[in-house]
């Protein structure tokens, strides 16, 4: 099954080596395979192959861009792409844009490409759309693995999602740097937003700042709000706030410079475990989590702590997933 996607002339090894060069069609084919159900075996061979071919492959910075519909995320990302190609000629970027799906037919219209004009045949940039499989947006079950794959090829991986308040959390978990994009707001709206999602992103973007005065008043309102909750933020410092306008071409260069000079990578072991737990929860519910906690959590937690302290080896997601699968099979047989 794992090898069914290859035809006689196209081996996994060939697809991987072409992908690592940034070739679009091979990358696209491998992503489709990652997006296929029951693909643990395939992922294992894919990541092993990458490891074998290029042990020191890239570890791209993941940037999450989320925000309410109409905040202008796609147009902003389009402008960021344009500048990126000018400002970072030796770097590569990928975009994964996630759109809501229809729950009736299961189909979707993925319209994010509309706003992003890409140069032709340029291997420095790659754009992929994904249906969310949820009417309201958020992350696709395969997004995490697609991103892990793209990180190996691209220096920067942007993930765009529609956020309505709940999904920001999941995108921030797989991003090194996540932005919440907002429109210039009135005061009561900021108050409303204060309740939940403010704590999550690393930085804020007030987009559509086409008019100076409205932009400034929104900026100060947001800053004041963040002051209130500063103490509960991870670093206990004010996160940066960017004011951008795609129409006036303002503030986007600053935003790009911030991204290009951002070096903090989140701990990948924590990320692996968190994503694994999310997968267990969605596949096996409380039963799975319970099993995970009672039987293995002790040693795993210890391992996470030890390994991240020593900073030596990393968890391999597929190995852990396989371990859990055999664990749960054993449990079910008992």
């Amino acid at each position: 099954m794992a090898n069914s996607f290859m035809n006689s002339t196209e081996t996994l090894s060939q697809l991987v080596s072409d992908s690592l060069l940034g070739e679009k069609f091979p990358i696209a084919k491998l992503i489709s395979k990652i997006e296929t159900e029951n693909n643990l075996e395939f992922r294992e061979s894919l990541f092993n192959e990458i490891q074998a071919q290029k042990p020191n492959a890239k570890d791209g910075l993941t940037i999450g861009i989320t925000g309410t519909p109409g905040a202008g995320k796609s147009s902003l990302l389009g402008e960021l792409c344009r500048l990126f190609l000018d400002f970072a000629p030796d770097k590569k970027m990928a975009i994964v844009a996630i759109d809501p799906s229809s729950t009736i037919s299961g189909g979707s219209i993925l319209g994010d490409r509309t706003r992003v004009t890409l140069p032709r045949r340029d291997t420095r940039i790659y754009f992929r759309s994904q249906p969310s499989q949820l009417e309201l947006g958020g992350l696709n079950p395969y997004t995490y693995h697609v991103i892990r794959f793209l990180r190996k090829i691209f220096d920067y991986v942007f993930v765009e999602t529609v956020g309505i308040g709940q999904n920001e959390i999941s995108i921030s978990l797989i991003s090194d740097l996540s932005f919440l994009v907002m429109q210039p707001l009135g005061g009561d709206q900021v108050q409303f937003m204060k309740s939940g999602i403010m704590e999550v992103p690393e930085a804020f973007i007030i987009n559509k700042c086409d008019e100076e005065s409205l932009a400034n008043s929104s900026y100060y309102m947001l800053e004041t709000t963040l002051e209130f909750i500063k103490d509960i933020l991870p670093d206990q410092t004010l996160p940066p706030i960017f004011k951008t306008s795609v129409v006036k071409k303002k503030g986007i260069e600053e935003l790009l410079q911030y991204i290009l000079t951002y070096s903090k990578r989140k701990d990948k072991n924590t990320e692996t475990i968190t994503q694994l737990m999310q997968w267990i929860r969605s596949e096996y519910g409380r039963f799975g989590i319970g099993l995970w906690e009672t039987m293995e959590s002790k040693s795993w937690n210890q391992a996470v702590r030890l390994r991240s302290l020593s900073g030596m080896s990393k968890y391999n997601y597929e190995t852990e997933e396989r371990k859990f699968v055999s664990l749960i099979q054993k449990k079910l047989i008992q």
Binding site: S4, F5, M6, N7, E10, K24, F25, I27, A28, K29, L30, I31, S32, K33, E35, T36, E37, N38, N39, G70, D99, S101, S102, I104, S105, G106, G107, S108, I109, L110, G111, R113, T114, R115, L118, R120, R121, Y126, F127, R128, S129, P131, V247
Partner: protein
């Protein structure tokens, strides 16, 4: 004893019967190159046509010269290519422009074409106040339906206001813009949407003019009087006639109440018409002749709401571009209606009809609510930018197609009484269709190259610099454009200069969140096949719907996008005016299972070739299907190139189309 006044007759001051003068007869025409179009116009004028209606080709409409790479497949296809003043000299050769009423269907580059016309007049010594005509210049409907916009809404509106200011002071008989509801109906608008969107557009134009404050109160009244409309007339001709009466009454109210226009003359709703093309069928195309006649009645029967100018499509428009004979046949219809019948002898024949009165009232009430909604949003420009109007049109169009698919809406020869004897009209040696000679583009390119070498290069460059500077400073651009015209600047250079200042606009596609209203057996069949595909491949089928080239009529592409989603596909649709290369790149990056192209401009062969070349570059063997106005005589060549399936207006049944597409991709080997 004086003659008794007869209520049923139109009389002059002496009581003598005095019928109305007929409306202006127009034929929308232009093709191949300036020389060929000039010959056509002169022939039409000698046949009794009383006005010119110029069709421009897509590069001219979108602001590209013929020597630009995107222009090549489109030169002279849907209208005449105009690159510089030199082409206008050829186009109007031996035509006295001072006696013409010239209508130009031009929008994004309307200021440029008017500047060329002015430059030509000055060169011939024709006083500008003698020029008479219209530049279409309604960008709102371009964003919504027709797609030949260039600049963002606010900048486009600025250009429109520049033209009003210039024309009122220099070419008083020119209509600087023509608010179009025509294209809205083609894009699926209901009568209420046609009324409300068009009037909201007119309000946006007048509000912008008022804001500039460049006219005295008297001048502003005259300016309101110059607003004219271009309306559609559909097959439901009683309702359409009521729509026209509603338009007339509402415009009277808006100009009086919102703009305080005192002179009744300036409150008159002046309009021209092209009757509906949307309802014309490829099946049994001879029936279209009757449709066109009935639609013409809707805008001529009621004297109080009668059009000023009428142009009729040809019976074979759903098949291809009309031939000269087809256009002549449509012109004859107007002549019979105006000169043989007694229509023009009577006052308004519907006055006092309860049915008509209450129908008009109902339309007005609904339209007023909708206008208020748009004004509350911030006006027509905002309703463009936030996608509201576009999404409403896509919705209406989807509902209309759903009704045709379910036979709730009867279309003779299409979904009812489909068996018939083959039309003898189609058996001519040319197959009943017109084709542009591909070699004719050479003449256009020759004139362009010649003009470029002959002109004073310094002067051309300086005129362009001046134009850019004026745009940056927000000055009225008309004088600078006219200077460019005289300096033999080209269409592409003029448009690029302003692109540099304003940027290019990319409007919402309107398809997101749309739903289809179909749930019959056909849908179940297609969804079943989609599910089977999903099981076999581990993911849903993915289609890239592409609208390549400069043709902006996006209805077909939008309907396919919405239907594919309804069937369970993941759909990538990125709007209009994409190069075949961009469409292929999307399909490759997304690893799509199929590419669906929509092309109405007649350049399907050229575009298909570019597309397959690019697919070959990526070694991507993705199946391609194509839909649009494609003559059967081209099928074989397209299939040879690799096109898997061809859909024409005959294939109106959306689920049958989806069924064919899912069948094609289901037979592909399961790779990824």
């Amino acid at each position: 004893m004086s003659a008794e006044k007869k209520d049923y007759l139109l009389v002059d001051e002496n009581g003598q019967g005095k019928p109305d003068k007929p409306w202006i007869f127009r034929t929308y025409a232009g093709h191949t190159n300036a020389k060929a179009s000039n010959e056509l116009y002169r022939k039409n004028l000698s046949k009794g046509q009383t006005g010119l209606s110029i069709a421009f080709d897509l590069p001219t409409q979108c602001g590209y010269s013929s020597d630009h790479e995107v222009s090549r497949p489109e030169i002279g296809k849907v209208g005449v290519p105009i690159n510089s003043l030199e082409d206008f000299r050829i186009l109007f050769d031996q035509i006295p422009i001072e006696e013409m009423n010239t209508s130009m269907t031009i929008n994004g580059t309307s200021m440029w074409l008017l500047s060329l016309y002015v430059a030509l007049a000055e060169e011939r010594g024709v006083p500008l106040e003698k020029l008479n005509g219209t530049t279409q210049n309604d960008l709102i409907k371009e964003y919504l339906a027709r797609g030949t916009y260039i600049y963002p809404p606010k900048d486009s509106m600025k250009i429109i206001v520049d033209m009003y200011e210039y024309c009122l002071h220099n070419i008083p008989k020119w209509n600087p813009s023509n608010i179009c509801s025509y294209h809205l109906q083609e894009a699926g608008a209901t009568p209420v949407q046609e009324l409300s969107f068009a009037l909201a557009t007119a309000i946006a134009v007048l509000d912008a003019i008022k804001e500039r404050n460049c006219f005295t109160a008297d001048e502003f009244e005259q300016c309101v009087g110059r607003i004219s409309f271009f309306v559609n007339a559909g097959i439901r001709f009683v309702e359409e006639m009521c729509k026209m009466r509603a338009f007339t009454e509402m415009w009277e109210e808006i100009t009086r109440e919102r703009y305080g226009v005192k002179n009744a003359k300036y409150r008159v709703f002046r309009y021209g018409v092209q009757v509906n093309s949307l309802g014309l069928t490829e099946e049994q195309p001879e029936n279209n002749a009757w449709r066109i006649l009935i639609e013409a009645l809707g805008v001529t029967l009621s004297r109080n709401a009668r059009c000023r100018a009428l142009q009729l499509p040809a019976w074979n428009e759903a098949l291809s571009l009309p031939r000269p004979w087809d256009q002549q046949w449509s012109l004859r219809l107007q002549q019979v209606l105006a000169y043989e019948t007694d229509l023009l002898e009577y006052p308004d024949i519907f006055e006092g009809s309860k049915v008509i009165e209450s129908k008009v009232k109902a339309l007005k009430e609904e339209a007023k609510l909708e206008i208020q909604k748009i004004l509350d949003m911030g006006g027509a420009l905002v309703a463009i930018e936030n996608g509201y109007m576009k999404s409403q049109l896509v919705k209406s169009q989807t509902e209309r197609l759903s009704k045709i698919n379910s036979n709730e809406l009867v279309i003779v020869g299409k979904n009812k009484w489909t068996d018939g004897i083959k039309s003898p009209l189609m058996t001519d040696s040319d197959g009943g269709i017109f084709k542009v000679d591909p070699k004719s583009a050479e003449q256009t390119l020759g004139v362009l190259a010649e003009a470029k070498t002959r002109r004073n290069a310094e002067l051309a460059k300086k005129s362009l610099e001046d134009l850019k500077q004026a745009a940056k400073e927000g000055k009225n651009l008309m004088p600078y454009s006219i200077a460019c015209a005289k300096a033999l600047v080209t269409t592409g250079e003029w448009a690029d200069a302003l692109r540099e200042v304003y940027g290019e606009y990319n409007p919402p596609t309107g398809v997101e969140g749309q739903k289809l209203f179909l749930s019959d057996d056909k849908v179940a069949t297609v969804r079943g096949k989609v599910d089977a595909f999903t099981k076999a491949h581990g993911h849903r089928p993915k289609i890239v719907v592409g609208k390549p080239g400069l043709d902006g009529h996006s209805n077909g592409a939008e309907m396919i996008a919405v239907s594919a989603k309804h069937s369970g596909f993941d759909v990538i649709y990125s709007g209009i005016r994409l190069s075949p290369e961009e469409i292929v790149q999307s399909a490759v990056e997304e690893n799509a299972n199929v590419i669906g192209l929509s092309i109405l401009s007649g350049s399907h062969k050229e575009i298909a070739k570019q597309l397959f070349d690019e697919l070959a570059h990526y070694k991507a063997n993705i199946p391609v299907v194509i839909g649009g106005i494609i003559p059967e005589s081209d099928f074989e060549e397209l299939k040879k190139m690799g096109i898997r399936e061809i859909f024409t207006p005959k294939d109106y049944d959306l689920m049958s189309i989806m069924n064919k597409i899912i069948d094609i991709i289901s037979t592909e080997p399961v790779l990824v």
